[in-house]
């Protein structure tokens, strides 16, 4: 009785708190407590109330209520508990507590109901060929999606509960005869040292466990596709899955893995190689083109071929701003458009993108605020930003491109090159869980080039991961 009072004190004020009292006999009363919003009441009725109410009381019920109850109710989900705090915890997880009036029989049953969306196509990583399943918010179903593809006994899931208030379930996943022991240990150590009160998304965990918070380049890859996760597990990487979000974190990761899309492995090898080169080229375009435009137009007009020089000069005749401000205005406007496009309700979003891009650009040129070449530069940059298969990397590109623009505006090509050197040193010194960020280009590991700059056909990918990982 006391325990019931304790529980009611803590949670009784909640409108979804339910406490039934069954008086089965003058000696035996039963309290059934649950939180109605997170349990499935059909289960409750079917498996708990019906058996109890329909069963006849016999001698055993009076002497040993615990074993009587256990025999009635399906064993698979039964658990005993002792303290009130434990009981409250289980109530909050969606279990139903059965407490006898004498207080010595305390059982809990798991009847949680998941409010989940069904497995659908991943929104951030679409692919033409390949499975269309993406993770969902419930971690149990995500584990199911992985297990369905990887039926190996070496697949290990380690559960951790992180977040003092949210008590989020986090699974550390790896294949124990492929992944390196040191890396797994490092993951475990870092996850265990998180002191936070809430973990709502995998990005919270990412911020806690990554090597370098101030770098714009992500050191953990995130993905929403189970086939991608399984492929990375097979390469020896470690995956962190978080309950409540479909995004899984993968590490350790190198710079060049951000240019891989799962599409590469489902298309033909030569197309995949060419697509990869296109992505590298788009990356370089997006970070260099605005800066180069500003540097060349403001500081080094001798670089342009004669006819281009004349046409640019004619276009810039009417523009009142120096090149740097013109570029800054256009880029900032484009960023605003992009942010607005994200938040617009779906119907209006389409029109904004078309209106913004075409009309705004066209109108700005007609009004004489920017030159036509600038609009081309900005559109090219913006589109190249989206070529990276990983969204987090696209954000890094934007920061770098603005930084280069400022440097180019201040000191022309000299400033730009100093910036390039700076970024290179930074990239090369980044570590993702001990692995150097720019492997296999620096340090040079020629054997790993099969899957970085090229995607060689499968019969050439001869080395198995547990040998490859030693080079990393």
């Amino acid at each position: 009785m006391l325990i019931v009072h304790q529980i009611m004190e803590r949670l009784g004020h909640s409108p979804d708190f339910v406490c039934h009292e069954f008086a089965l006999s003058p000696d035996l009363g039963l309290f059934c407590i649950y939180i109605s919003s997170i349990v499935s009441t059909e289960h409750a009725n079917e498996f708990i109330f019906k058996p109890i109410l329909e069963q006849n009381l016999d001698a055993r019920a009076l002497h040993d209520p615990k074993s009587w109850l256990e025999s009635l109710i399906p064993k698979a989900q039964t658990d005993a508990f002792k303290e009130a705090t434990e009981g409250i915890q289980r109530l909050l997880e969606g279990q139903c507590l059965l407490i006898s009036s004498s207080g010595d029989c305390r059982l809990s049953y798991d009847i949680a109901k998941g409010q989940n969306r069904s497995v659908s196509e991943p929104t951030t990583e679409a692919s033409i060929r390949g499975p269309r399943e993406g993770f969902v918010e419930d971690i149990a179903r995500n584990v199911a999606l992985i297990r369905k593809r990887l039926k190996s006994e070496h697949l290990i899931f380690e559960q951790l509960i992180i977040g003092t208030e949210t008590k989020t379930k986090v699974y550390l996943t790896y294949i124990d005869n492929i992944a390196q022991v040191k890396v797994v240990e490092e993951f475990r150590r870092r996850l265990n040292s998180i002191h936070a009160d809430s973990i709502l998304e995998s990005s919270y965990i990412e911020e806690w466990i990554q090597d370098n918070t101030w770098s714009p380049f992500p050191q953990l890859l995130f993905t929403e596709r189970p086939d991608s996760v399984v492929a990375k597990l097979m390469e020896g990487q470690v995956v962190v899955m978080t309950d409540g979000t479909p995004i899984a974190l993968v590490g350790p990761v190198t710079f060049f893995q951000f240019f891989n899309s799962p599409e590469d492995y489902y298309q033909r090898a030569d197309i995949a190689t060419l697509s990869r080169w296109l992505r590298f080229f788009a990356f370089l375009l997006s970070i260099f083109v605005p800066a180069l435009y500003i540097a060349v137009v403001s500081y080094h007009p001798e670089l342009l071929p004669n006819s281009l020089l004349i046409s640019l000069a004619a276009q810039r005749e009417e523009v009142p701003f120096p090149a740097f401000f013109e570029a800054a205005i256009m880029m900032v406007t484009f960023e605003i458009l992009r942010e607005a496009g994200l938040r617009m309700p779906r119907i209006a979003g389409q029109s904004i993108s078309i209106v913004g891009a075409l009309v705004l650009g066209e109108a700005a040129v007609e009004a004489g605020l920017v030159s036509a070449a600038m609009v081309i530069v900005v559109s090219l940059t913006a589109i190249s930003n989206f070529v990276s298969p990983n969204y987090g990397f696209g954000i890094a590109q934007r920061i770098i491109q603005f930084a280069f623009m400022i440097l180019a505006g201040l000191m022309g090509l000299f400033g730009l090159m100093c910036g390039v050197f700076f970024v290179l040193i930074h990239l090369v010194s980044l570590r993702s869980f001990g692995v150097k960020y720019f492997t296999p280009l620096a340090p040079l590991v020629l054997s790993a080039w099969r899957d970085t700059l090229f995607r060689v056909p499968r019969y050439k990918m001869k080395r198995f991961p547990h040998r490859r990982m030693q080079n990393k």
Binding site: S298, P301, L309, I310, V319, P322, A323, G412, F414
Partner: protein, 377 residues
């Protein structure tokens, strides 16, 4: 703490000084053609700079200006003073990185242009791979004329020279400042084309180029100016100029009219290869010339047979040998080492006595579309 913050602020401020170098495109006066003349009496230089007008050149609608270029002229006694002087009349920053060509007046060329060469080499704004022309018309007439078809006169001249450039081995037409510099210490002359203005008055209004007759007020390049040690010593006519290039500078094409069986045949010699050989070192030099022939115009009144072709070849060989010998004679008379004898193993004192023989062989390779001319019988 304070010191390091101050240090950071100062560094950031210092970085802003990079902006002093901003040369925004639409603040530049882009010079496309430069002309230099020297007054022999006073020693003053007259410099003409032709600046491109971007709005006049662009194809966008709404541009009202029609003039593609504007010419400014300045007068001063030393080359370096012009950079500052231009600021007094030109509203924009003087920008010479896109100079297409340079024109030098004949009277300045005859005095020697070593001072101009020194100036161009020293100045980091100028480049030495500009093509040079010598003009025998008054310089202000040429610099103040518009040109048809290519609205920027500097580009007009450069594309005219590009036409010749393709026929040189390695695509280099050696009429640039750097070729003059290279030949400064050598004995072989450099031949620079002479431009000549056909009309009387300068075509100084852009309406003039709306006229259909393009040659009336246009420019022609025909003769060549002979420069030895950066000083003009004389003129060469067109044919001799081409022959000079063939014998020395790897020009590979020649169009000639030869008379075969009493009628004219125009042939084009392609892939001309010239080899020098000293038969007796220092005293007897032999040139072996080989060409592939192509018939452009055949006015003979007989069928084209193999024998006929051989006749054409033989006729061409003889004619070319005669022309080369004429060139050699002229070069020895005038004292210009046009054959490059001294630089290729000859002796400075005795080059005039060196015997030179020419041996020309040719092969007919292309004959055109007809196998036999039409005959009226």
């Amino acid at each position: 703490m304070k010191a390091s913050r101050l240090g950071v602020v100062l560094t950031l401020l210092a970085l802003c000084t990079g902006c002093w170098d901003i040369k925004d495109i639409n603040t530049l006066a882009i010079v496309s053609l430069a002309g230099v003349d020297k007054d022999p009496k006073s020693g003053d230089f007259l410099a003409y700079y032709q600046v491109m007008n971007p709005t006049g050149l662009s194809t966008r609608t709404g541009s009202s200006a029609k003039a593609a270029v504007y010419t400014f002229n300045f007068k001063d006694f030393s080359h370096g003073r012009f950079t500052e002087k231009t600021g007094r009349a030109m509203p924009r920053l003087f920008f010479t990185a896109h100079l297409q060509s340079y024109i030098i007046s004949e009277r300045y060329a005859r005095e020697g242009i070593l001072d101009l060469i020194n100036y161009v080499e020293l100045n980091p704004e100028r480049r030495s791979n500009l093509i040079i022309f010598v003009s025998d018309s008054p310089l202000d007439v040429i610099m103040n004329s518009f040109t048809p078809l290519d609205r920027v006169p500097g580009r007009f001249m450069r594309s005219l020279s590009n036409h010749y450039q393709r026929n040189f081995r390695m695509n280099i037409y050696p009429i640039r400042f750097k070729d003059l510099e290279k030949d400064l210490k050598r004995q072989t002359p450099t031949v620079i084309p002479i431009i000549h203005y056909n009309g009387v008055k300068a075509a100084s209004k852009s309406d003039e180029i709306e006229k259909i007759n393009a040659t009336q007020n246009g420019l022609t390049f025909a003769e060549g100016a002979v420069f030895i040690h950066a000083r003009m010593v004389g003129r060469l006519d067109d044919k001799s100029k081409v022959l000079f290039y063939i014998l020395n500078k790897k020009y590979r094409r020649l169009t000639e009219t030869i008379t075969v069986n009493g009628s004219y045949v125009d042939v084009e010699a392609q892939n001309i290869q010239v080899q020098r050989k000293w038969i007796a070192p220092g005293s007897h030099l032999s040139f072996d010339i080989h060409a592939d022939l192509r018939i452009i115009n055949n006015q003979q009144k007989r069928k084209m047979t193999l024998q006929n072709l051989q006749q054409i070849e033989a006729s061409f060989n003889k004619m070319l040998e005669a022309k080369a010998e004429a060139l050699e004679q002229m070069s020895k008379d005038k004292g210009w080492d046009l054959l490059g004898i001294q630089d290729h193993g000859g002796n400075e004192d005795s080059w005039r006595q060196t015997k030179v023989t020419f041996h020309v062989t040719s092969t007919m390779t292309t004959t055109g579309n007809t196998s036999t001319p039409y005959l009226l019988e």
